[in-house]
Symmetry: C2
Subunit: 170 residues, 2 copies
């Protein structure tokens, strides 16, 4: 593949020949790759009776321990009712712990339990294995480009959460 995506002079940014066909290929690459990307965790989740929504919650609680429900809502971009359902089952099953805030008792701070951390490990190990192998197959330069394009494809809000995440509103 690779086709000509660049003009002959290769002056960096400029001279990007972007035919509709090439852009369509890019779209399909995203579609198929995202399927692959989620396939391994999906199998693990399915076996335990969870879905992708549970994975997302677990992932971001792991990333930002003690995060509040509201923070999580902002990251995930779903309604609180939708998140709550997922969170409830995770709490009932003893994977997530919800602690009432000290300063503000309206808030709940979320933490993974040992059992939750264990599942998180299994999921991220599986996902990382695929990503690691894709990175290795493609090489270091390709990885840098991959990240650049993905970042440019995000909405600005999402990009902020992807990059910084700390102290946004607090």
């Amino acid at each position: 593949m690779a086709d000509k995506a660049v003009g002959p002079s290769a002056g960096g940014e400029a001279l990007l020949f972007l035919t509709d066909e090439q852009l369509r290929k890019g779209s399909e690459a995203m579609f198929f790759a995202y399927r692959g990307f989620t396939a391994d965790p999906d199998r693990i989740l399915d076996a335990k009776g969870y879905g992708r929504a549970h994975h997302r919650a677990i992932h971001f609680i792991h990333r930002s321990p003690a995060t509040t429900v509201n923070n999580l809502l902002a990251i995930l971009g779903v309604t609180k009712q939708s998140l709550n359902r997922v969170l409830r089952t995770l709490i009932e099953d003893g994977l997530v712990e919800s602690r009432v805030g000290r300063a503000d008792k309206r808030e709940r701070h979320l933490h993974l339990t040992a059992k939750g951390a264990e599942l998180e490990r299994a999921l991220s190990d599986a996902q990382r294995a695929r990503m690691r192998s894709a990175y290795r197959a493609a090489g270091a330069e390709a990885v840098a480009g991959f990240r650049q394009v993905l970042e440019a494809m995000m909405d600005s809000e999402q990009r902020a959460q992807y990059q910084g995440l700390r102290e946004s509103g607090k």
Copy 2:
């Protein structure tokens, strides 16, 4: 399981330091970027009362006119019941035409009508606009890397459909 995945020696690509943290970043990049990637078409679809499932069907019918229902099932990876529900509404609404096969009358060959092609245009224009802008922001080299990593991330079956698609079983 952590840190250095590739030693500084290695051949060719080499120098890929893959920490868990970097791989986690890659996962989140996929997550956020995919959201951005689907955001624009989603708005258009929503306004017309369709969903992402309709978009996928329209996209692949456009890409491979006269494709059969079975082909589409293989590409989309859903059950026929699920696809049929979507296809039925598209046919009822006059966006897709289903023609009985000449050679094999059991088959239905799918085509976009003028109206269907129009919606396809609107959807892919929106999606391509974002992709074009991401490509331009990232540069030609980054785009090549982006495609390489995505391709490496696919399952082999999906990769085959992404690349070749023509004469697989026929």
